[in-house]
């Protein structure tokens, strides 16, 4: 038993002696995101945005190369958001009938469209963008650049929450924000995408339409 343990220690000792530790600082991207690329022993810090690598010199070199390859400057984009409520009468200035594509209107059963809010949101790639819409709605967005050439394509995750409501449960009252719209789509720079949400099997309810125009900034 002692001999086996000694043999194990002696055989592992040279490998352990070869292992090194190196701290790499991420410049543009969050270290947390870059660390997902690695397939070796590592840890990251949000405070210093660094990744600590541990392994053989070859493995550390390969990991450093991967980090440098993907630690590219983050792009900035601007989003023009128009939130339209279908099925609700609206005063003349808020009438959004002309904003909704005619072909879509012919498919939908709503006759009235009102503009609840419009906003311009600008932010960095991978950041969580948040904005209050229409008084009691909350919009959250995150985008990533999928293709830069020939035309910039963004992958955008959109989440719009409704006003907070009080729900009674057996444990007490809980405040929740119902999700009105939650979708992920790709949009080219300069393109407008129509996002819609309505209740399933709804008889007289209204629908939420979001016109999202993205623009990648230089």
């Amino acid at each position: 038993m002692k001999r086996a343990f000694l043999f194990l220690v002696l055989s592992v000792a040279p490998l352990a002696a070869q292992e090194q530790t190196k701290v790499v600082k991420a410049i543009h991207r969050p270290a947390e995101h870059l660390s997902r690329l690695l397939f070796m022993s590592h840890s990251f810090t949000r405070e210093f945005n660094t990744i600590t690598l541990r392994g053989t010199p070859e493995a550390i070199k390969a990991a450093e190369a991967a980090i440098q390859q993907y630690d590219t400057p983050r792009r900035q984009a601007e989003f023009f958001i128009r939130v339209i409520q279908a099925g609700m009468p609206a005063p003349a200035p808020d009438d959004a009938t002309d904003l909704v594509p005619a072909e879509l209107k012919s498919v939908l059963r709503y006759s009235r469209y009102s503009l609840r809010d419009s906003a311009i949101l600008r932010g960095m790639e991978a950041d969580r963008l948040q904005i209050a819409l229409g008084g009691n709605l909350t919009g959250k967005m995150t985008f990533h650049l999928r293709e830069a050439q020939p035309s910039a394509t963004l992958e955008v995750a959109v989440n719009i929450d409704g006003p907070s409501t009080l729900i009674k449960t057996k444990d007490g009252e809980v405040t929740t924000n119902p999700t009105l719209l939650q979708t992920t789509t790709t949009v080219k720079s300069g393109e407008t995408v129509v996002l819609g949400a309505s209740k399933m099997q709804s008889q007289s309810g209204s629908a939420l339409i979001v016109l999202l125009t993205a623009k990648l900034l230089p």
Partner: protein, 135 residues
């Protein structure tokens, strides 16, 4: 005089014959200690094992006899198969018409349905049907 007699008695050694006898006795005792145990006593070592074996065999026999099911004293009669009637059987009564339930059938368990449309001008539409949607 007495003192000299006492000294003589104390300093007197045993006789040669007595010494030889005592030596022979001591040798016999020593040899007896070195002798192997008697063969008759060696058998006692296996006695508990033999007794345990006998006990196990006896208990196994008792258990097998207790578990054995005795044959039934009374044998049930063979089943009799009824003869088929020659005349046709009367038709079964029509099932009672159940009143249709007013409640609609439960809908699909789908909580979320996403629909992708592309309009003729190229505008893409992503429409989500959500049961929990409230506005």
């Amino acid at each position: 005089m007495k003192d000299r007699k006492l000294r003589q008695l104390l300093s007197m050694l045993p006789e040669e014959e007595e010494i030889a006898r005592r030596a022979a006795r001591a040798r016999r005792r020593a040899l007896a200690r070195l002798e192997e145990p008697e063969p008759a006593r060696r058998g006692w070592r296996w006695a508990p094992a033999a007794a345990l074996t006998v006990l196990l065999v006896a208990s196994a026999a008792w258990v097998s006899r207790a578990w054995r099911v005795d044959p039934l004293v009374w044998t049930p009669p063979a089943p009799r198969i009824a003869s088929v009637p020659a005349a046709p059987l009367a038709p079964a009564p029509a099932p009672a018409v159940r009143k249709a339930s007013r409640r609609a059938a439960p809908g699909p368990r789908q909580e979320r349905l996403e629909m992708h449309l592309v309009l003729s001008d190229g505008t893409r539409v992503l429409w989500t049907f959500d049961r929990k949607f409230t506005l």
